[in-house]
Assembly symmetry: C2
Homo-oligomer: 460 residues x 2
């Protein structure tokens, strides 16, 4: 067993530990960026520190991470006497100079430059150089302290961090962004520092309970955060490094840890890819499940995932609740979002309803409302049954307005809980696709394959 | 308007005030019964009072009430020194002697004789003669006090009581039995005594609120009873005469009072009879509503209504809840019961479901249960999707066991909340009838006609 554990880790590391040539490429570009930043500062007569921050600098990155142009963060540290306007302006100017192959402007807490150097994307982040984290002026001021803490405490366990990151990737829960609601790189580093090794992390994880609180500095820590997992930031005890981790990501990690420790295998790190669903396979699945699948498809202005996902989730949930309240019950659903194309998916248990609907009126003993209700419905030719009394209230049975999912959603989407952006997008136009109509692109075919094959990574 | 109110009351009274020949018949039989009881007492050397109790004696009965052999109650009052065994024994002996055309034995608090005299059924009730209601030994001891109170206070307003009773009959809420959960004759008499006339009762009723409390003796009374209406018994202030009145009967009376006062008509007292539903009419209704109607039909040993109804209601509700929990949702339903033949009716919005079902497992962080669940469902060929994690719990999607209403009810009726007697009856055998199959007798055709035509009497 021990041998198997070691063997699997070795195998995985061979695939994820950056090669010499990769390291050299990264090293070259970081040196080049630092030099460019320093020269830009000198030419402006500015005194500021220049630091590369993140997994690249800490040597906890994974082979391939930078292949498709993932980010390197360059932090330019200014004195706290610098005004905020100057800070932002210098940041943009220096960033543009670094981008030897061009740049784009991004927006986070304030505008910043994403500079291109060959295949690399360099985020240039101006910040205040502060003494300690109590002086923080903006969220990014904290980041250099993270870098410092990890560098001082990791003590050579870089490969353990790599294994943990890849393990989380395999389980689909790596990354703190709102689409994934998982574990950040910094969180991985802290867990390895706390427990000493990748396997020790998993050993601890398998017994976690919702509400777990982890502190690297004190033995007994309390989870005062409203989240299933709290990991107290060693550089700022008011902050929960695991704030982004959802209950489901938390649970998936616990499950994956148990499975891996019981039978270690490389598939836990590199799950098998599911092929996109073709029409034949789709038909076979639907024949077995006998459900009806609908997709509400619309275009969203090209929003970044972190903006789009929470809104899509709210809209999806609002629609589910409205559907259920009207008798259309769903087995489950999902959200597809890719560069401005959104599909809210619903797999329906009930997508058609009879032509009659119960309509509840006021309590009989509330005279004014009762009179109004009766005036409206007595001798009303559209009433199918009633008014009668049920549980002290008037009830009439009326013709149902919408008998099918598409009719209902098309007519009532404006009254469902949603977000402004999505309501606006749907107002411009949307389609309701049913069953095979959903297989209209390779990405949707893959999305649907994953939807139906929804299974924990270890449950192949 | 006033004229119309008076005219309608006159018209109704012409139909419900007993005719001279009716009165004579009733008078003759009561005299005969009293004489027979007294002679039976004399021959046994017993000293006891003999009293005819109820609407017959108080002259608040309605023409036709005694035509189909409705009850006359004869109360035989013994001294409190009599032992309970003697009381019961004498009651039975005297009862049998009174029944010149035979008798049957009934069971209430203790056995009693139902004696037959021509078309009349005479309940012979032995009781203790007590000084006041604080000395009550059995529920029937209170009844003579009711008689005394009404006789002393009604003051000639017998026709108003008759009108109120017939009005309640028209609305389907006359009678305190568990099938109707309505207003008893004694309650009608008290209301007329309290408010002075039939119309004054309705004037008061139309503004009633759930929780109303009425006392005939004090001005400010509080409803300490858990019922929508409390009418404190003037002969026993611990007793609510309206305890049997359900929220719906209460509400129906309020509604009927308002409608009648707005436009008085004889139809409020004598609603139009609905014809039984034939196949053609049934098809037309179902075509409009597009629902599916199921009846679960079984035989109950010939239980009296007051025993059968609460059990049928519990079984019907238990089935509704179980159906809903399994995705089969109903618009509404009803209960048919007639001399041991029972049908639980359900009009379904959803009576068929897809072949897949969500099955929720334990929370992931509960290790022991989690392991057991995963052992069962990982690599289980019957699983359609999963196990996956949702809201911190394991979930699998399995083939649904029962896809239709009949399959589900037939297989799972034993696990639904019900009553012992009904479970026992269904265990012997039951049928599930669908749509037109339900029209298998005139009574069922009438029952279904009323079901679909469910409307307050005044809403024609």
């Amino acid at each position: 067993m021990k041998n198997q554990l070691t063997r699997v880790q070795m195998n995985v590391l061979q695939r994820i530990r950056p090669s010499r040539s990769e390291r050299e490429r990264l090293h070259a570009v970081t040196q080049q960026v630092i030099a460019a930043a320093q020269s830009a500062l000198t030419s402006r007569n500015l005194r500021a520190t220049v630091e590369v921050i993140g997994s690249a600098a800490r040597d906890t990155w994974i082979s391939g991470d930078h292949d498709d142009g993932l980010d390197i963060d360059v932090f330019i540290g200014f004195d706290t006497s610098t005004s905020r306007e100057d800070l932002e302006r210098y940041g943009l100017e220096i960033g543009k100079e670094i981008g030897i192959d061009g740049y784009t402007i991004g927006f986070a807490e304030h505008p910043y430059v994403k500079a291109r150097c060959g295949a690399f994307a360099i985020d240039v982040v101006p910040h205040y150089r502060i003494e300690n984290t109590r002086q923080i002026l903006s969220a990014v001021d904290r980041t250099p302290f993270h870098q410092q803490f990890v560098t001082e405490h990791l003590g050579g366990r870089h490969d353990d961090v790599r294994l943990l990151k890849q393990f989380l990737k395999g389980a689909g829960i790596y990354g703190a962004e709102l689409r994934t609601k998982g574990f950040s790189g910094y969180l991985c580093e802290l867990l390895v520092i706390k427990y000493g090794s990748f396997v020790n992390v998993l050993n601890s994880v398998q017994d976690w309970k919702a509400g777990t609180c982890i502190s690297l500095t004190s033995e007994h820590a309390h989870n005062n955060f409203i989240s299933p997992l709290a990991v107290i930031d060693p550089v700022d005890t008011n902050r929960n490094v695991a704030a982004a981790v959802s209950l489901d990501s938390f649970s998936i990690l616990i499950d994956a840890a148990r499975s891996f420790l019981e039978s270690p295998c490389t598939e836990c790190f590199f799950p098998q890819q599911i092929p996109p669903l073709d029409v034949g396979a789709f038909r076979a699945i639907v024949k077995k499940r006998k459900t009806t699948v609908f997709g509400v498809k619309f275009d969203l202005p090209d929003l970044v995932d972190d903006i789009a996902y929470p809104q899509l989730e709210r809209a999806h949930k609002g629609m589910l609740v409205a559907l259920l309240r009207n008798g259309f019950s769903a087995l489950r659903g999902d959200i597809y979002y890719d560069h401005g194309e959104a599909v809210l998916l619903f797999e329906m248990l009930v997508s058609e309803l009879p032509a009659v609907e119960r309509h509840e009126g006021p309590p009989v003993d509330s005279k004014r409302h009762a009179n109004k209700f009766k005036k409206k419905y007595v001798n009303n030719p559209s009433v199918l049954s009633g008014p009668y009394v049920d549980n002290g209230r008037y009830v009439v049975e009326l013709p149902r307005k919408y008998l099918t999912f598409p009719d209902y959603v098309a007519a009532e989407f404006k009254d469902m809980r949603s977000s402004k952006a999505i309501l606006c997008a749907m107002n411009i136009g949307f389609q309701i696709l049913k069953d095979e109509e959903l297989l209209d692109s390779d990405r949707m075919r893959l999305f649907l394959a994953r939807y139906f094959d929804r299974t924990l990574n270890n449950c192949g």
